[in-house]
């Protein structure tokens, strides 16, 4: 899911009629003018900023500049701060929580309202369940204002505050739907001294699979992915992702490096989880996690094999998949063998196990026989294949 930075989420709120404090976004120290006193907020795509020192209140310009300099050269919870939102400090009398997400059990979007904003709503929910109201609404229409009024009036809220809160909640459900959000939270939504409501913080995440409907926001996603790629992924994972992009056929690049001697080419998703657990249970030491599937090309499998074998300390390779119907066993066998040969290794010694039964298995097994590789058919379970791989890597078989 793509988490929007606070300022971007707030742009969406304003555009849809939800008020926010006046503010200015800065990415360097040059001559920005801003109101004082102010709140400086590091723009990072992660929660818990306040506790990590990413939010500070300032009274004077001098103070503001000092903190700006510090924030812009720091990281908040592992994310480098590239911009800071300077917001007017708003005097508030009361704070509320508004949240929208999908209830995966009911399979409906759900609106959540609490009279106790500003803190963890889950905590409030446990301690004082009556203070947290929830209501499902249709994904196609959002929550109409009258429904929001029915909901919020249960808390004993009356008058203009009821109207303002209901309108805000209803608008937030419309935003949730319109922008294909998976989470849209305003926390806190504050009541000001003159009785208005204003969104002090906002957390929005959008559905990656719906970004094709939101071209402008999608371009932000590209940028943030590149930044993430530098900070979070190691070389091994990055190279694997490059292999996956070699062509369109199949998935072969989702790798996570571990510190072991047994390289894994495993798939599809469910079988990868199963095989990895099984290797650990037999006390094997995986060199990597991996998910392969969707009938990857010989080229992809070959390159992936080479990448894993190039990892220092990798002694053997285990190839384990569930019974395949779409992926072809012969193409997998060809890719793995080619990769081993091009790494200057001997297939029969390097392959601890090859267990892919299913489509085109006869052709696949023929290739493996030619290179003297032992293979397993569907009578050998994923668990047993993992055991064989671990034993062989230890030199016990």
């Amino acid at each position: 899911m793509m988490r929007l930075l606070e300022y971007k989420s707030k742009e969406i709120l304003v555009k849809n009629g939800i008020p926010i404090p006046s503010s200015v976004l800065v990415s360097d120290l040059s001559h920005a003018s801003f109101p004082l006193p102010a709140v400086l907020k590091a723009q990072v795509p992660i929660g818990g900023r306040q506790k990590a020192g990413g939010v500070v209140e300032v009274q004077t310009r001098q103070e503001a500049e000092a903190h700006l300099q510090r924030l812009l050269s720091s990281e908040v919870r592992g994310h480098p701060v590239e911009s800071v939102l300077i917001e007017e400090r708003v005097e508030t009398t009361r704070e509320f929580y508004l949240g929208i997400t999908v209830d995966t059990v009911a399979k409906k979007p759900i609106a959540i309202f609490s009279t106790e904003g500003g803190i963890e709503v889950e905590e409030t929910s446990k301690k004082n369940p009556n203070a947290v109201l929830k209501r499902h609404f249709p994904a196609s229409t959002g929550l109409p204002e009258f429904r929001a009024r029915e909901m919020i009036s249960q808390c004993g809220i009356r008058g203009r505050l009821l109207l303002r809160l209901s309108a805000t909640l209803s608008r937030l459900t419309a935003i949730f739907t319109r922008y294909d959000a998976t989470i849209a939270e305003i926390n806190p939504l504050a009541q000001t001294a003159d009785g208005k409501v204003i969104a002090l913080d906002c957390h929005m995440e959008l559905d990656d699979d719906a970004l094709f409907r939101h071209a402008t926001l999608a371009s932000l996603s590209q940028k943030s992915k590149q930044q993430k790629g530098h900070s979070e992924k190691g070389d091994f994972e990055k190279k694997a992702a490059e292999i996956d992009r070699l062509d369109q056929r199949g998935v072969a690049g989702r790798l996570i490096a571990f510190d072991g001697d047994l390289g894994l080419i495993i798939g599809g998703g469910g079988a990868s989880l199963t095989a990895f657990d099984a290797v650990l249970r037999h006390e094997g030491r995986p060199a990597n996690y991996c998910e392969i599937g969707g009938n990857p090309s010989v080229l992809k499998t070959k390159e992936l094999t080479k990448l894993i074998l190039s990892k220092p300390g990798v002694e053997k390779l285990a190839v384990i998949m569930n019974i395949v119907s779409n992926t072809r066993v012969d193409l997998m066998a060809r890719g793995v063998i080619k990769g081993i040969l091009e790494s200057g290794r001997v297939p029969s010694e390097t392959l601890a196990v090859f267990r892919i039964p299913g489509a085109w298995e006869e052709e696949g097994f023929k290739i493996l026989r030619k290179y003297g590789v032992e293979y397993c058919d569907r009578t050998v379970s994923i668990d047993e294949a993992a055991r064989i791989a671990v034993e062989k890597t230890r030199g016990n078989l």
Binding site: L273, S325, D383
Partner: protein, 297 residues
């Protein structure tokens, strides 16, 4: 007996002229499924393995009638195709595509509830009632399906498409046949999930036990444990929970979009503990499913 479909279920394929759809249409026909028509807008008048292709579901339904539709169109077009099928009275949809926008899934399910229809998927390989009917891609070509799936009394529901066939094969190798095998789909929100299926299996006289393949992420398993206890579900359930190592790596996304652990929610250890409390059998190794079933049946 089994659930959801039988030998007389009339099936259409939306997006039938696509490469994948052509292949699984042939596989379904070879297996004995009644594929009565296909729909690809703009390609009406063609045929795929003798199955007539129409421009609209309306034409297909008017000429042939249909109970089920396999929707094999790109993710951006799934909503439109599903609403079209539901609008013309089709009561069982199989949504094959991965990466369907969440909102589209929710809107499809909303409309399906109005129409009293059932949806499998998205991100599913479909379902198989062994030797009777196969709807979707599950199992692949007929020879493969026949060697992995055999008729019997154990149902399978799996969050992984590939593992549906893997588990069926494991049971078949050990002389245990299956009633209905469903790949429920890998997304966080799918149509028929474990919570919907267990009551259907409970009512099915042809199902004596159910095997579930579970993954990290989401709270469906935890909710199922509650449901089994409160409703007094009698059908024995054997669950295998894959991806136990994921508990130690919170926040990293594995496999299906659903496989993400957030905080304390959705961990495999949590799911296993809830299952045990509710009297659901938990298989430590995949192979243990067989031992447990043999003790039950």
């Amino acid at each position: 007996m089994a659930i959801l479909a039988d030998a007389n279920t009339k099936i259409i394929v939306q997006g039938i002229t696509g490469r994948e759809a052509v292949a699984f249409t042939r596989d379904m026909i070879d297996y004995g499924s009644k594929v009565v028509a296909g729909v690809t807008p703009g390609k009406g008048g063609q045929s795929v393995y003798g199955v007539p292709v129409y421009d609209t579901v309306l034409e297909a339904v008017t000429k042939h009638g249909a109970d089920a539709s396999v929707i094999s169109v790109p993710p951006t077009r799934v909503r439109d195709a599903a609403i079209e099928a539901l609008s013309h009275g089709i009561r069982l949809l199989v949504l094959v595509a991965e990466r369907v926008p969440r909102r589209d899934t929710l809107e499809i399910l909303e409309f399906a509830r109005e129409k009293d229809a059932r949806v499998i998927g998205p991100n599913t390989l479909g379902m198989i009632n062994p030797h009777v009917v196969k709807i979707g891609m599950a199992g692949g070509p007929v020879a493969n399906v026949k060697s992995a799936y055999t008729p019997g009394t154990v149902a399978i529901a799996s969050r992984s498409g590939g593992m549906t066939t893997e588990i069926a094969n494991l049971l078949t190798l050990n002389g245990i046949g299956q009633s209905t095998c469903i790949s429920v789909g890998g997304d966080p929100v799918v149509g028929l999930n474990f919570l919907d299926l267990i009551p259907l299996f409970e009512e099915d006289p042809g199902t004596e036990a159910v095997v579930l393949f579970c993954e990290p992420g989401g709270v469906i398993e935890e909710t199922l444990a509650e449901m089994v206890a409160t409703r007094g579900i009698q059908t024995p359930i054997v669950a295998f929970v894959a991806g136990r190592f994921v508990d130690k790596m919170p926040g990293i996304r594995f496999g299906h979009a659903a496989t993400i652990v957030e905080g304390n929610k959705g961990t495999t250890s949590g799911k296993i503990a809830r299952f045990r409390e509710a009297g659901i059998h938990v298989a430590e190794r995949l192979d243990d499913i067989v031992t447990i079933l043999k003790g039950i049946l």
